[in-house]
Symmetry: C2
Subunit: 264 residues, 2 copies
């Protein structure tokens, strides 16, 4: 969608979402959506599997703009990849919260597809450490997938996991289809925007404002991670968002008299 402008908001101060209670993830997703609506977004993609699995139906019903998650496009792509006469089973990999929310599993099973699922908490830190294509990543993949039954497709149910594709292909063999829902969701959003008459007019040249990067945490750490993952060097800005604001110290913590002062 080269004619569109994008606002990316990364809640880097409060990640990882994958091990947080679902109601907390839902509340964070609401705050982020509110910020994006306030900045004039005409449509929103919840580009996080944990947040999509936890909050999509509720957010889509409440927001004043079209809203997509990444789960259903991944489910649809997986159903396309299943060959019932062959194995008829899809594996779902994701964070603890995504696997526990059962958003993928329930939709696949409702479509008659058998599932096997596993939470893979070490995959995100491995990708963020920049060792996604390494002996470490391969050993961790074998740790999680050693008892996986034969499947037709594996849903990479977390936005970090596509960086593990080369490793997962080595471990699982070339005949297993790896489903990257980022491509599937882009296709769906593009088609829906056209259908809704929401596409921007064609622009002649790409501009410096094509993507605005906002983060709730440290800008320098974010830029380091993006660079390590081979991404853009466009600058990011800090955004103060709900409870991701650094809290002020409480007046209750002003110095009080004390008998002795230890600073070991």
């Amino acid at each position: 969608m080269p004619d569109e402008r994008f606002v990316y908001l990364g809640d880097t101060a409060r990640v990882p979402y994958g091990s947080k209670p679902l109601e907390m993830v839902r509340a964070f997703a609401s705050e982020i959506a509110e910020e994006l609506v306030a900045r004039g977004a005409k449509a929103i993609v919840i580009a996080c599997n944990t947040a999509s699995a936890a909050s999509l139906p509720e957010l889509a019903a409440r927001l004043p703009v079209p809203t997509w998650g990444v789960v259903q496009p991944g489910v649809d792509a997986a159903i396309d990849a299943v060959t019932p006469a062959y194995r008829g089973r899809v594996a779902v990999l994701g964070t603890e919260a995504t696997i526990k929310a059962r958003a993928y599993q329930d939709r696949l099973e409702a479509a008659g597809v058998a599932t096997w699922s596993r939470a893979c908490p070490l995959f995100v830190p491995i990708v963020e450490e920049g060792v996604s294509d390494s002996a470490i990543a391969e050993l961790v993949a074998r740790h999680y997938l050693g008892d996986m039954p034969a499947v037709d497709a594996v849903i990479l149910g977390c936005t970090h996991y596509p960086l593990l594709k080369p490793t997962l292909s080595r471990v699982l063999g070339p005949e297993v289809v790896l489903i990257d829902s980022s491509e599937a969701v882009a296709d769906v959003v593009s088609a829906d925007l056209a259908r809704l008459g929401l596409c921007s007019p064609a622009r002649r040249t790409a501009g410096a404002d094509d993507v605005t990067y906002l983060v709730t945490g440290d800008v320098g750490s974010f830029m380091n991670t993006v660079t390590r993952l081979g991404g853009t060097d466009a600058p990011a800005e800090r955004v103060d968002l709900g409870t991701a604001r650094a809290p002020k110290s409480s007046p209750a913590l002003e110095p009080l008299p004390r008998s002795e002062h230890l600073a070991s």
Copy 2:
């Protein structure tokens, strides 16, 4: 200290601290200390290297009760372990924030001890995944420590790292002393409480209220982790703390009229 009662507060909703900006870690540590003072704590141990490195001098100066961090006891133990005629160097392992804060390195170098340091972001998730004594852990340790020069001692500068001792001993060899500051800090606290006349009277039997466990995040996830690490099965309670409270949804996000309803 079997005669003392303890309140443990784990900020599980906002961990990991290790990759957060120092000013945010300082603010979280202040909120936690305030909660503990409000619950009647007579003394506080900042039992986290990242929070100690980020906030100890400031908190110790402001709190009305004696306050210790885990850094100085670890430094002292490392200085004891150094044999200048031999190698004269100490390695410091910790989170990104701890290594960046330089609390260990500056104190050791001020004492004339050469240092080598490395941030090891994968160590915490490996411990929390319960694979701290495994081929995965060993491969990750070799990844971080492959270019470490000869040292006399290695400071395990994160409260998770002592669980990696068997793995680190295999990788580093038995002649390198592994410094676990948890034991050092217990010795210091016990001695200082006695010196300050703050010890509790002897109790005849251990009670069920010896330790109160408070967490800001999901209680069930916390209990699962503690059980996996071989810890207590005493119940934990949820505590709402500053910005770790799950935010309420904003009124701005009430349903608004829209032309079309997408729930893909």
